[in-house]
Structures are given as structure tokens and as C-alpha cells.
């Protein structure tokens, strides 16, 4: 090490100035730079009630209950209370899905109502006034009357009311225990039979919705038949579930007529809908609203690969459609799945809510009559989509009247009910619609809860996603509505204003809003090496001199201090 010319020694003044400079740089970095960096790069995450969200998605927050109240009117029965108790016991014993249970109540009205001779109006009005005061809807009214002499127990459910007329055998003797048990059993069996389909659906909905699906899980499999329903029912329920349109507060119905030729050129669709369907849509409006439109397309053909084949009635004309033979064109079942010509049929809707399509297809004269193999109604249903009916009007008819369309409307009405999920079983329309309201409430409840669960898992899984305040507001609103819905369910208040259905609707809407908040786009994934690559060019030139000078300063101070101590 040769002696080189060294710079003049540092004056203490210089050293102090340098220390101050270093200190000031560091204070700027620490007091200004670091907080600034922190605030500009941190992601705003609004606080969410995570525990509550999780408990809803687990189904722990609310045990959904569907208590169905059945009013019993037994004006001529000597000891109805005892019988009721027995029936209630039988019902409770036989019920293996406790969330959905029937509760019997002796109707107060039967004391003043004049027994079995009264008209439907007069019996239903007192129960309605009761509703007003108690806010509890009656699922069904069971009216017990003695049947004709010598008959056994039987029941009758009219399709226009909630009244179940049960005729017990006149040989019924309340004092004999065997006789009263048999009647009790019969009553409980009847009630279960009426509500079994609804119960299965609700149990399926609740069981498929509540448990958090682990990422590896299969979509609802046949394993969730834990509620005692046998395999056949599970398959049937699955089929039904796959058919039902997802709940929406509004649906759009499109009635289309696709005709293979230029005729018929007009149809009385407006009048038909007005007469045949509108009352039904009005009755359904407590659950969902509907908008309706219709269209005609001429020279329409199904998908090009759907080719019907000719089936002659008589063997001698086989395979010769040009002759004046009797027979029909037949569509195979495999063809139906691609029957809809989505490339050419204008079935796209511009509404923001789901569309249910109903199509009347009229084949061209050269392919008339066209029938669907194996179908009695010449129609088919496309799950979650709509219904199609092939109509064969007399040749060259130019105008389809209301009467011509009646058959199609019969089918569309049934298809509509089944697409919306109304149970097919009890013939009584009011009971079916009530059931539908309850099913939809269950669906909304589970869907809102599972959305909350999804949001919960999302916020956990993607820590780099920002959560704006609007999400936490929506989540709070969802929780509030869910809470209300749960309470209304327990109170048995299913339809109408402020009911479980409406609260469920609010909850589902708010939950969707929270989940689909548009600023929560997870496009902010930066691998760690990216972060280093971003920061290093900045931190290198700035950080190294800073650190070096700081270390030098500290070393100098330490050296000075040591020197002073030695001295």
C-alpha cells in the first residue's frame, strides 16, 4: 500500500453538517416517503362481518323452518281436541324432515260457522280476518264431516281452494281407541300426501344449499338423500330441479309462432293470453312478475340436421309420401334436442331478466302432419328454457283463432308452472302456489346465504382484491334481510308484503350486488418477483447511497465514541 496523497482531514464542522444531511434525508424517507408509499399502495378493504357471513353460509345462523298451519274444522265431531292431538303425534312421528312440519289448529271459526253446508266464501272469510290479526297464513283448512253411511274414510280436495274435505266413516266412534287411531292415521296420511312433494323439494333445496361446498366436491349428487326419501324420489327431484328456472323477480315470456310456409299469417295470441294465461300470471305475481311479447316468423325451419321421417299408416304406402297416402311425419326424440334453430330463429331477448320461450311450430304443408314420436301432446319441454309445441292446423288456414290456440295454451300453462317449479301434485291451485312461494323462499334464502359464503371465501382467498364500502353496505343489508326472512319463516308468514319471500328477494338481490361489485376485479395479481422487479430500479439507486451513508455515519459515531472512551 503506497502512500498516496490523502485529502485534507475532515473538520468536525463538516462532519456535523454531513450527519445532519444524512439525518434529514432519512427523516424525509421515513416520515414522508414510507407513509406515502404505504398509503398509495395499500388496498382498501372495507370491514366485512366475516363471522356472520360464514355462519349464514354454513347454515348455522338460521335454521329455516316451514311451519304449515292447518286449520281443522270439525263441527260435528265430539272430541276434536283429542283427535287433533293424536293426529299431531302421528304427523310428528312420521316426519323425518323437521324443518318442514305441519301444525294443526282447531279453527275458532267453526263455533260460529254453520257446519258443512256453508259455502266456500263464508268459511274462508273468517280465516282471512284471522290472518289480518295474527299475520299467519293458513296452509290448508281441513274440514271433517261424516261421510255417507257405510263408507270408509275418504277425502276430497277441490282444485280451487285450500279446503280439504275429509269424510270420516260414520262408524267412527271416538270412545274406541282403535277407531280413533285409524282416523288419526288416515288424516295424517292425507296431509302428508298433500304436502309431500313440497317437503321433498324444500328439503332438497336446503340440503343442497347450506353446506359449504369444498372445492373438490361434485355438483349436488345423489348422496344428499339423507332425509329418508328413497332413490327414485331423489332422481325425480333432481330432474325437477334441473328443469326449474332460477328465481327472478321478473320473467319475460316470449310466444313465438314459427311457420314452415307463409300461412297462417296471423294468430289471436293477444286474446288467448288475455283469456287463458293472464289470470294465472296475475295469481303468480305475488311471486314473480311477467312481461309478455309475441312474434311470428314465416318460412322457418328447424335446425338443418333435424329431418323428420315419413311413417305411413298402411304398409302398402310405405316410403312413398308423394302419393295420397295417410300417414304422418315423425320427429325422433334425439332430434328434439337440436330442434331449436338458434341460428335463424330470433329468440334473443334484450331484457335484463330471464326469458321463457314458448314456441308453436307449424310445419310446412309438405311436412304436415308432423308429430313427435312418443308424445301424446305433440309438445316437449326444454328445461330452464321453455316449451315447444308442434301444431298441425288444417291446410292453408290463414288465421289461427283463439280456439285453435287453446290446445297450445293448455300445454304452455302446464309447462310454465313446471318451469317455475310449482309442485304438480295436489290438484288445488292455491295450495300449489303457496307451495311455490315457500319453495322460492327456501331457494332465495339458500342462494343469498351461499353468495355470502362465496364472498367470504373470496375475500379470504384473494387478499389483493379491494373491497369498497358499497360491498359492506350491501352485505349488511343482505344480513338484515336474511335475518328478517328467517324470522318470517318461523312465524309462518310466507307470501305477501314483508314476507319471507320478499325479504329473501331483497337478500338475494343485495348479496348479488355485493358479490358482483364492479370494482372488485381481481386483476391485481403480482408475483413476488414482479414486485422486486418494480421496486429494485427505484430502491437500488436511492436505497444504496442512503444505507451506505447511514452505515458510514454510524461507524464514524461509534469510532468517535470509542476514541473518546479510550481517551
Amino acid at each position: 500500500m503506497s502512500k498516496t496523497k490523502s485529502p485534507p482531514p475532515d473538520t468536525p464542522e463538516n462532519a456535523r453538517t454531513r450527519s445532519l444531511v444524512v439525518l434529514s434525508f432519512w427523516s424525509v424517507v421515513l416520515l414522508l416517503g414510507l407513509p406515502l408509499w404505504w398509503f398509495t399502495t395499500s388496498i382498501y378493504r372495507a370491514p366485512l362481518p366475516l363471522k356472520e357471513m360464514q355462519s349464514w353460509s354454513n347454515g348455522r345462523a338460521c335454521r329455516a323452518e316451514f311451519p304449515l298451519l292447518v286449520d281443522v274444522e270439525a263441527p260435528l265431531l265430539p272430541d276434536p281436541e283429542h283427535l287433533l292431538k293424536t293426529v299431531q303425534h302421528a304427523l310428528d312421528d312420521a316426519n323425518d324432515f323437521s324443518a318442514h312440519h305441519l301444525r294443526l289448529r282447531l279453527a275458532r271459526s267453526h263455533y260460529q260457522s254453520g257446519g258443512h253446508g256453508t259455502s266456500q266464501k263464508s268459511t274462508s272469510s273468517p280465516s282471512e280476518t284471522q290472518d289480518q290479526t295474527e299475520e299467519e297464513s293458513v296452509a290448508a283448512i281441513l274440514r271433517l264431516t261424516p261421510g255417507a253411511s257405510g263408507s270408509t274414510h275418504s277425502y276430497q280436495l277441490s282444485n280451487s281452494s285450500r279446503i280439504i274435505d275429509l269424510y270420516y266413516s260414520p262408524s267412527y266412534n271416538p270412545s274406541s281407541s282403535a277407531s280413533s287411531t285409524s282416523l288419526a292415521l288416515f288424516i295424517s296420511k292425507t296431509l302428508m300426501e298433500i304436502f309431500v312433494e313440497e317437503q321433498q323439494m324444500i328439503s332438497h333445496l336446503l340440503s343442497s344449499g347450506t353446506p359449504t361446498p369444498p372445492p373438490s366436491s361434485v355438483p349436488p349428487g345423489p348422496s344428499n338423500s339423507s332425509n329418508g326419501s328413497n332413490k327414485i324420489n331423489t332422481a325425480e327431484i333432481q330432474r325437477k330441479m334441473s328443469r326449474i328456472m332460477r328465481y327472478s323477480p321478473t320473467y319475460h315470456l316470449t310466444f313465438s309462432m314459427f311457420t314452415g310456409a307463409a300461412t297462417p299469417a296471423s294468430w289471436e295470441i293477444e286474446q288467448s293470453i288475455e283469456e287463458y294465461l293472464q289470470p294465472l300470471l296475475d295469481a303468480l305475481s305475488g311471486i314473480s312478475n311477467f312481461t309478455v311479447d309475441s312474434q311470428i316468423q314465416f318460412y322457418a325451419s328447424p335446425s338443418p340436421n333435424v329431418v323428420p321421417f315419413w311413417e305411413a299408416d298402411t304398409p302398402e304406402n310405405l316410403g312413398d309420401p308423394n302419393q295420397l297416402s295417410t300417414g304422418k311425419w315423425v320427429l325422433k326424440k334425439e332430434d328434439l334436442s337440436s330442434f331449436i334453430n338458434s341460428a335463424e330463429w330470433p329468440l334473443v331477448s334484450i331484457t335484463s331478466y330471464p326469458t321463457i320461450n314458448f314456441i308453436i311450430y307449424i310445419p310446412s304443408p309438405s311436412q304436415t302432419p308432423l308429430s313427435i314420436s312418443g308424445s301424446a301432446t305433440n309438445a316437449f319441454l326444454l328445461p330452464q328454457w321453455g316449451g315447444v309445441m308442434v301444431l298441425n292446423p288444417p291446410n292453408q288456414i290463414n288465421h289461427l283463432t283463439k280456439a285453435d290456440l287453446k290446445g297450445a295454451m293448455d300445454i304452455f300453462a302446464a309447462q310454465l308452472l313446471s318451469l317455475l317449479g310449482a309442485p304438480s301434485h295436489p290438484p288445488s291451485l292455491p295450495i300449489r302456489l303457496d307451495s311455490l312461494a315457500r319453495q322460492r323462499s327456501a331457494e332465495l334464502l339458500t342462494s343469498a346465504s351461499s353468495t355470502l359464503g362465496s364472498l367470504y371465501r373470496l375475500t379470504k382467498a384473494l387478499p389483493s382484491i379491494s373491497i369498497p364500502t358499497s360491498v359492506s353496505t350491501s352485505v349488511a343489508a343482505t344480513l338484515q334481510s336474511l335475518h328478517n326472512a328467517c324470522r318470517e319463516l318461523k312465524r309462518g308468514h310466507f307470501g305477501g308484503p314483508n314476507s319471507a319471500l320478499e325479504e329473501g328477494r331483497n337478500a338475494a338481490a343485495e348479496a348479488e350486488k355485493a358479490f358482483f361489485e364492479k370494482s372488485m376485479v381481481g386483476q391485481v395479481y403480482f408475483p413476488e418477483e414482479h414486485k422486486v422487479a418494480v421496486y429494485l430500479p427505484l430502491m437500488g439507486p436511492v436505497g444504496v447511497p442512503l444505507l451506505m451513508s447511514a452505515v458510514k455515519e454510524v461507524a464514524r459515531v461509534v469510532a468517535e465514541w470509542k476514541a473518546r472512551r479510550r481517551a
Partner: protein, 383 residues
């Protein structure tokens, strides 16, 4: 006795079959087709996507259920000697641009952000239906992407890139919100197989054109067009689909398609990822993803009353229904539907932030780097 039990025994497998088919049911098919590159020399990517578009449309997916994202700057490019046409073969037998294509995201709308918004449906409230993926848990989705990519990323129009992690997270969000039943992800780009390596959501089947460090090559060029017109991987996929899957009732499975891949022809190693997909490939029809086969329910003989009601009678019944708490239909008519009352409540619970640990890791990494630099600068001085 025996005679009575046998029908039940015969029924049993039938029932099980029924369950299986129920499981595999989907009610709608959607396709998301993305070409992420722009400019004339990327002609082939546009042709790739348009060929796929044509195929899924041919097999019955309606335009309303196809989301087509492409720069769309080729058909009317001044360099195109066949204005308003796009061909995927030098024989120019088929004009892909044709008479009827609906591009949903065009030009500069093809961005990473829009793509992720589309998948997760976090869109502006006024977004038209045609730009949204309105799927549910019964929808099968076919996602096809092509463009220029690299290890775990895919470039979008030379401006930005999407990483494999972003797509995986987007798919996970879709799964969380039950936005798909099953998904087929197909990608034709360089190092394509790295793009699906990060997926972790169930029921996704993924396939790509080339593995890590492999390019995906074009098939051939058209001398009059002046550029390559299609990529190899897409070409051979299309070849199989055109030759074997003639219509939506085809019974070919995805296994047939994947088995048809020939490394010698494609010039790269196409990959298939099946670990997230819990169905056997030889049971999955190609039309489960490429076509739109709707399940149908037809009434059998004698089931008439199940599918047919007397509409007039039903209407009469419905007209005098009185739902508790609701006026009858006739009275109700003039009542304006109430607007939904939104209730607001304040949030009380505060949850701790989780990002602390991550920040700490990042800071340590940086400090270490700086220390290394600093140390490196210091060492020679001492000597």
C-alpha cells in the same frame, strides 16, 4: 315371487343410469372465444378464433351465447387483397367472415380487464346482454384463447398481459358463484400449457397447444394473402371436428379428439389437464362443449295430464285465488308494483387485515436485495 322381484332388479341399473345422466346434465352451452392479438401479421389468430366460432355455431350454440372477443382489424385491412373476407386455408374455400358474425368485444375493447370482468360478471350495470356471460350452475362453458404468450402469461394486443394466476383466480370466482357446470379451456399460443397449470377450481378440463419452452407454430401461409392463415394446433382440432362431428347429434367424445392429436403434425406437444375434471373423457361428448344439445322432456303416452292442463279452467281458478295479504287479481290490477325498499344497516364488526405478513415478506426481500448490492459494493473496498 321370483317373477315379481326380477323387474325390480332390472330396474335398478336403469335407475342408477338415470342418476348418472342427471348428474351430467347441463341446460345451456356458452362459448368464450378470444383472439388477443391485433395487426395484420397476426391474421392467423383471427382466423383461429373465427374458425372456432364457426364450429360452435355450426353445432348449435346461438350467437347470444357466444362471446367473441377479437381485434377485428383484418377483414377490412388495406393490406387484405380479399376485402371483407378472412380465410383459414390457402384454398380459400370458406370465407370465415361470411355473412353472419357477431363480434361482442372488438378492437381496443379486448383487454385483460374486460376479459376478467366478462368471466366474473363484474360489469357496468348498463352492459348489454350480448357482452355478458350469463351462465349459471347448469352451463357448460368452452373457453378458447389464442394469441402470443409465454411462460404463464398471454399478451393482450401488445399492450398488457394476463397471467395464468389471473385466469385461475377468475375461474375460481366463477366456481364460487356457481357460474359454470363444467368448463373446457383450450388455448393455442406459445408455451400454452403453462397457462392452465395454475388452475385450481374443479370441473375444468384444459388443453393447450404446446408445453413450456415450446412454440406453437402456424400451419401454412397463403401467398396471396401474404401471411400465415392458421395455427397448427387449431388446424388439426378443426380437421377432426369437421370430419367427425358433422352435427350436434354426434357421439364422438373428447377422448377421441385428444387422441387425434399428433405431435408430428402439430410440431409441439399438446397437453391435456384432467385432474380437476372428474368425468372420464370417453364419456364426455364433444357436443357437451362445442354444441348446444338441450335436454328435452317429452311426455310419454298416458302422461298427458301431467303436461297438459285446461288453461281456461286454470285461468278461472287463478282469477279467484285469494292469497292472504294480497288482493285478488281483479282488484290488484291498478296497483303499481312497489319498488323494493332497500334497507341499510351499519356494519359494526371490524376484522384484522391479513396483508401484513405479505408486506413483511416483500420488505424483507427488498432489504435483502439492497443488502446484497450494498455488500457487493463494500467487499472490493476492503481488499
Amino acid at each position: 315371487m321370483k317373477a315379481r322381484t326380477t323387474p325390480i332388479l332390472l330396474l335398478l341399473p336403469l335407475l342408477l343410469c338415470c342418476c348418472a345422466s342427471v348428474l351430467a346434465q347441463h341446460t345451456s352451452n356458452w362459448a368464450v372465444l378470444v383472439s388477443t392479438s391485433r395487426f395484420w401479421f397476426n391474421y392467423r389468430h383471427l382466423a383461429n378464433v373465427l374458425s372456432m366460432y364457426r364450429t360452435v355455431k355450426r353445432l348449435g350454440i346461438p350467437d347470444s351465447q357466444i362471446i367473441l372477443m377479437l381485434a377485428d382489424d383484418v377483414a377490412c385491412n388495406p393490406r387484405n387483397v380479399f376485402p371483407a373476407s378472412v380465410f383459414n386455408n390457402a384454398d380459400r374455400g370458406l370465407d370465415l367472415y361470411g355473412d353472419n358474425i357477431e363480434v361482442d368485444y372488438r378492437g381496443y375493447e379486448v383487454t385483460v380487464e374486460n376479459f376478467i370482468r366478462l368471466l366474473t360478471d363484474r360489469v357496468e350495470p348498463d352492459t348489454p346482454r350480448s357482452k355478458r356471460l350469463l351462465t349459471d350452475d347448469r352451463s357448460n362453458i368452452f373457453v378458447y384463447m389464442t394469441g402470443h404468450g409465454g411462460n404463464e402469461f398471454l399478451k393482450f394486443q401488445d399492450a398488457e398481459e394476463i397471467s395464468a394466476f389471473d385466469i385461475a383466480d377468475a375461474f375460481e370466482q366463477m366456481w364460487e358463484k356457481k357460474r359454470y357446470h363444467q368448463m373446457l379451456f383450450m388455448i393455442d399460443t406459445c408455451q400454452a400449457n403453462t397457462m392452465y397449470s395454475k388452475f385450481y377450481s374443479p370441473n375444468i378440463l384444459a388443453t393447450g397447444s404446446s408445453k413450456l419452452d415450446q412454440s406453437s407454430y402456424s400451419h401454412h401461409a397463403d401467398n396471396d394473402v401474404g401471411v400465415a392463415v392458421i395455427d397448427r394446433y387449431t388446424y388439426y382440432n378443426l380437421e377432426f371436428l369437421e370430419n367427425n362431428v358433422k352435427n350436434a347429434s354426434s357421439k364422438h367424445t373428447l377422448k377421441d379428439l385428444f387422441d387425434s392429436y399428433d405431435t408430428k403434425k402439430i410440431h409441439s406437444d399438446p397437453g391435456v389437464r384432467t385432474d380437476l375434471f372428474n368425468r372420464r373423457l370417453d364419456e364426455v361428448l364433444i357436443t357437451d362443449f362445442f354444441g348446444n344439445v338441450q335436454n328435452v322432456e317429452v311426455d310419454g303416452k298416458g302422461e298427458e295430464e301431467k303436461w297438459k292442463v285446461d288453461a281456461l279452467e286454470l285461468a278461472k281458478l287463478a282469477a279467484n285465488i285469494t292469497v292472504p295479504g294480497r288482493k285478488s287479481a281483479a282488484e290488484k290490477a291498478p296497483v303499481v308494483t312497489e319498488t323494493v325498499v332497500r334497507k341499510r344497516a351499519t356494519v359494526s364488526r371490524v376484522e384484522e387485515k391479513q396483508s401484513w405478513t405479505q408486506s413483511a415478506v416483500g420488505v424483507t426481500a427488498l432489504v435483502l436485495c439492497a443488502a446484497a448490492w450494498f455488500g457487493g459494493a463494500l467487499v472490493p473496498k476492503r481488499l
